[in-house]
């Protein structure tokens, strides 16, 4: 057909097409060969895989980082192997019958199993759902014995958080709970439903530092759930242990002293802000959270009127009472309102703005100067100081010492307290600040509120003669001290005057003498704060009744080279000197003994 007038010459095109077709034929041959390889040569391998199909991925949970005390020797939180029974829905041929059999085997109510399964129904059906944990070895062997009849019930082991000393340091360590679906959507993306995460304390603050990287296990499992082959195992990678600054001996001592009362003890090292003790009473056993509460247990814990979950040391808000007096002294001295030599007369009561204000000592202290006023915690003296200052000036000095603001401790939930100012009152009530209210603030009453930790941090600033610190539990925290600001410019003599009064309070027959330890230059201040209004208290007193005051003591030692700050608060403990000071004294004593050893 070449050179045909009708037909084009397409032979070149045809040759190219033929060439492509040959390649296609070769590719068909190659594809057929490959199919021959996997279907004929590798048949056994794939047949076996199909028979024992179901590649299942399971998690090898990582143990959580161990927590120790400051020495590293005392383990405060570690991990224990724990057995748990899990239900695999995929393996249940008759769901209701399976649940019944499992409930009988585990000796729990069917509804418990159903509730657990309902809670995690969004998980794939092959994923085991924990229905009972902390199995005894007897239970484990009983379940294993029924393995073939009940393939849907499996035993899993996992490392469980364990607190060897139970409630000891519970408010420091915090507790763990199952991660909630909301948390999974926000912060904990790498966690899965059913995982435990830290909710409070160190466990929460250092969640990412403590949670190891879970391993994974890929297994081929047959339709009965029996493991046929391990394909891949990635071992979990736990994180190294974390040493806290907590002093086990002091912490145990503080909790022993607090037992049976409501209150808090904070002990820290004023040189660097390391927290040695943070105790809050009543307390709880964080191990109970690990074992998954029954609803009744949980209700019992949160409905307890004494609120054991509240960390009184960082969340309890109290009037500072007389332990605010050193702050007043600082304000008075620095503004030039008083000098160390300024005296006032205490006759047991005095009139300010036509209202009588009383000293705690009936009959009064007579004429006394600043040092004696601190030593004897004289109210009238500080009423006079307060009367000469504005509330905003007082607030400025209180804030310089760290009151009214967060201390920056790394565990969550800290409260900021309250230092009243005229602007604050205007904003919250719409009313102006009345000068008469300043009189109450002068002795740490009125709207003033502080946490025991704030008081300890304030005490550390006094002990350091103006250098502030940031309290912390580990060297991995932000340990940078806040700027001391104008406090750093206060002359040393001012602090020596105040500290001198505090020294005499403990060592010269003052209100703090209950804290005295032979050979340890403790400086301290007591406080007894009214928990009810002044009028109510007077009305009760008139009828011969009384409500005990909150009992405070805060102090440091030794006077010239402070290495320990102790703050004690006992709710309804009565006079600070009678209740809180001796508790602080025992802690000072133990600290000294440990130091001298």
């Amino acid at each position: 057909m070449k050179d045909s007038p009708i037909y084009e010459d397409l032979s070149l095109l045809h040759r190219r097409a033929l060439w492509v077709f040959r390649v296609v034929a070769l590719l068909f041959l190659a594809a057929a060969l490959f199919y021959w390889k996997i279907q004929i040569l590798d048949y056994r391998k794939y047949f076996a895989l199909a028979e024992a199909n179901r590649i299942r991925e399971s998690v090898i949970p990582s143990p959580r980082g161990v927590l120790t005390d400051r020495g590293g020797a005392v383990v405060l939180a570690d991990n224990q192997a724990s057995f748990k029974a899990s239900f695999i829905r995929e393996n249940a041929k008759d769901f209701d019958a399976s649940v019944r059999a499992a409930a009988a085997l585990l000796e729990i109510d069917e509804s418990v199993i159903r509730e657990r399964i309902e809670k995690y129904k969004s998980l794939p059906a092959f994923r085991p759902i924990v229905v009972k944990d902390k199995l005894t070895l007897e239970e484990v062997s009983r379940i294993e014995g029924r393995r073939n009849e009940l393939p849907e019930l499996v035993i899993e082991t996992e490392p469980r958080r364990n607190y060897p000393f139970g409630s000891l340091a519970a408010h420091i360590l915090g507790y763990m709970q199952e991660v909630t679906p909301e948390e999974l959507r926000s912060g904990f993306r790498d966690r899965r439903l059913g995982d435990m995460v830290g909710k409070t304390g160190i466990e929460a603050a250092y969640e990412t530092r403590l949670a190891g990287v879970d391993g994974t296990l890929l297994e081929v499992v047959d339709s009965q759930g029996r493991i046929r082959e391990e394909i891949q195992r990635i071992e979990p990678r736990p994180r190294p242990k974390l040493a806290l600054t907590v002093d086990y001996d002091l912490q145990a001592k503080a909790e022993e002293l607090l037992a049976g009362r409501e209150g808090a003890v904070v002990v820290l090292d004023p040189r660097n802000g390391e927290i040695l003790v943070l105790a809050s009473s009543p307390t709880y056993d964080p191990n109970r959270f690990i074992n998954r509460f029954t609803p009744e247990e949980w209700q019992g814990l949160i409905a307890n009127p004494d609120n054991p979950l509240l960390d009184r040391a960082i969340q309890g808000l109290y009037s500072p009472g007389s332990i605010f007096k050193p702050t007043m002294a600082l304000a008075g001295l620095e503004t030039g309102t008083i000098t160390a030599g300024t005296s006032f007369f205490c006759g047991g009561s005095a009139l300010f703005y036509d209202r009588p204000f009383r000293c705690w000592l009936e009959g009064g202290h007579g004429n006394l100067a600043l040092s004696d006023a601190i030593k004897n915690s004289c109210n009238i003296y500080f009423y006079n100081v307060g009367n000469r200052l504005s509330v905003d000036t007082i607030a400025r000095y209180a804030e310089m010492l760290g009151l009214g603001g967060m201390t920056g401790i790394e565990i969550p939930g800290e409260k900021a307290g309250l230092v009243p100012t005229s602007a604050w009152k205007k904003e919250t009530t719409g009313q102006p600040w009345y000068p008469g209210e300043t009189i109450s603030v002068a002795i740490g009453q009125g709207p003033l509120q502080a946490t025991p930790l704030q008081i300890a941090v304030m005490t550390a600033a006094l002990a350091n003669r103006g250098r502030r610190i940031r309290p912390h539990f580990t060297s991995e925290a932000n340990v940078a001290a806040p700027s001391s600001g104008p406090l750093g410019l206060v002359p040393r003599e001012t602090f020596e005057t105040i500290v001198g009064g505090m020294w005499r309070s403990v060592n010269d027959g003052g209100t703090g003498q209950g804290a005295r330890i032979e050979g340890f230059d403790i400086c301290g201040k007591t406080g007894s704060t009214q928990t009810i209004g002044r009028e109510t208290a007077e009305r009760l007193a008139a009828s011969g009744r009384s409500v005990k005051t909150h009992s405070w003591f805060t102090g440091f030692a030794p006077r010239d080279d402070p290495r320990i700050v102790v703050t004690v608060l006992i709710e309804f403990g009565g006079m600070g000197g009678a209740t809180a000071a001796p508790v602080a004294g025992q802690i000072f004593g133990l600290s000294k003994a440990k130091h001298d050893r």
Binding site: L10, V20, F21, A32, F34, Q39, D42, K45, A50, L218
Partner: protein, 363 residues
């Protein structure tokens, strides 16, 4: 338009192979889905009837007419695709479905025919022995436009299917070395840009797991692994019709569409695979043979491009399901379930039959 002489010259063998392969597909679709409901096998039979109607319509009208209206078809297809991108609803992750009356369709499948015709028209008017640069670029543009729109749906599998059309046309036109170099550069640059800016994570994952399917048994590689297990466990003669455990236990993904060949491998073994290879190869061989049985240049191009399209899709799919190529979501024409795909294939083969039977000039 059609007379008895044409009917005598019609390739009945090719038509028979077309139907035979479709029937094999229906049988496999039935086995893959009879326990799930959805009536896919019967829907496919319905589609087969519709497609056969279109087949005869395509055959009846002289192919010159189809080439004549190619620009309009092309414009319409492009318009629908762009409209779909703008207003279409997302179905299984892509804006690729057009809902008309009771049956849904994927215009992207039908667009293949439009591109096939327009490229044929373009190249039929080019008579040099070797394609030059400007001409190649125009062809790339014509095929690339709908390809890009479809890739944005995003449906990479279907977008890829325009590649054999373009490549087929260029091969036939005679690619010279410069063109090959240009193609390589475009592929490398396009691949780089695509990887970094256009590919979604799941698509990257697919490419990555192609290299090592065992590494991620729950991800994309999981499907390939399950598909290989299904095929391998079929052995020589298979587990029997409707007895594939991998398929029944739902380890196989997209059993009636992309992984239909794995159902074949599992239930009919290597014997079944080989038989279908032969059957399909005969169909393709018959189509390639037709390239030499045309009256004009345009006919050769259409026939060759249609052959390339079917070959490409078949080979990509059978190599993909055993892990030799990434899982791209390209179905096997005729065997996989899918109305639009069936329709497109019937029209494409219809064009081949059409051209072949009108190869003689009656002067």
């Amino acid at each position: 338009m059609i007379d008895r002489l044409h009917l005598r010259e019609m390739d009945w063998a090719l038509t028979a192979l077309l139907l035979l392969n479709t029937v094999v597909g229906v049988v496999l679709i039935y086995s893959a889905t009879f326990y799930t409901g959805g009536g896919f096998a019967w829907k496919q039979v319905l589609w087969m009837v519709i497609a056969l109607g279109f087949f005869f319509l395509t055959v009846a009208v002289d192919y010159k007419f189809w080439i004549e209206i190619a620009p309009y078809l092309y414009g319409l297809a492009l318009l629908v695709l762009v409209g779909l991108l703008a207003f279409g609803r997302v179905t299984s992750g892509a804006r690729s479905w057009l809902r008309l009356a009771f049956l849904g369709g994927q215009p992207s499948e039908v667009a293949k025919v439009a591109v096939l015709l327009i490229l044929a028209r373009l190249f039929s008017e080019y008579r040099a022995a070797f394609a030059n640069f400007a001409f190649g670029a125009l062809a790339v543009l014509l095929a690339g436009l709908p390809m890009a729109v479809i890739a944005f749906q995003p449906d990479f599998g279907t977008a890829f299917c325009f590649f054999p059309l373009l490549a087929g046309a260029l091969i036939l036109a005679g690619l010279n070395r410069r063109m090959i170099a240009l193609f390589l550069v475009v592929a490398v640059v396009g691949g780089f840009l695509g990887w970094n800016f256009f590919l979604k994570d799941y698509q990257k994952k697919r490419l990555e797991t192609l290299v090592n399917p065992g590494q991620d048994p729950r991800g994309a590689g999981y499907h390939v692994l399950q598909s290989k297990i299904a095929i391998g466990s079929g052995g020589t003669t298979g587990k029997g019709f409707m007895k594939g455990t991998q398929s029944r236990l739902r380890f196989l993904p997209a059993r009636h569409t992309d992984f239909i060949f794995a159902v074949l491998g599992e239930e009919f073994g290597f014997a079944g695979v080989f038989a279908v290879f032969v059957l399909y190869f005969l169909l393709l061989a018959r189509m390639f043979r037709s390239v030499g049985k045309t009256r004009d240049r345009a006919g050769s191009y259409i026939t060759f491009m249609a052959s390339s399209l079917l070959t490409f899709q078949f080979l990509i799919n059978v190599l993909m399901i055993v892990g030799l190529l990434p899982v791209t979501g390209i179905p096997i024409p005729l065997l996989s379930y899918g109305g639009s795909s069936l329709l497109t294939t019937y029209v494409a083969v219809g064009l081949v039959v059409n051209i072949q039977m009108r190869r003689f000039a009656y002067v």
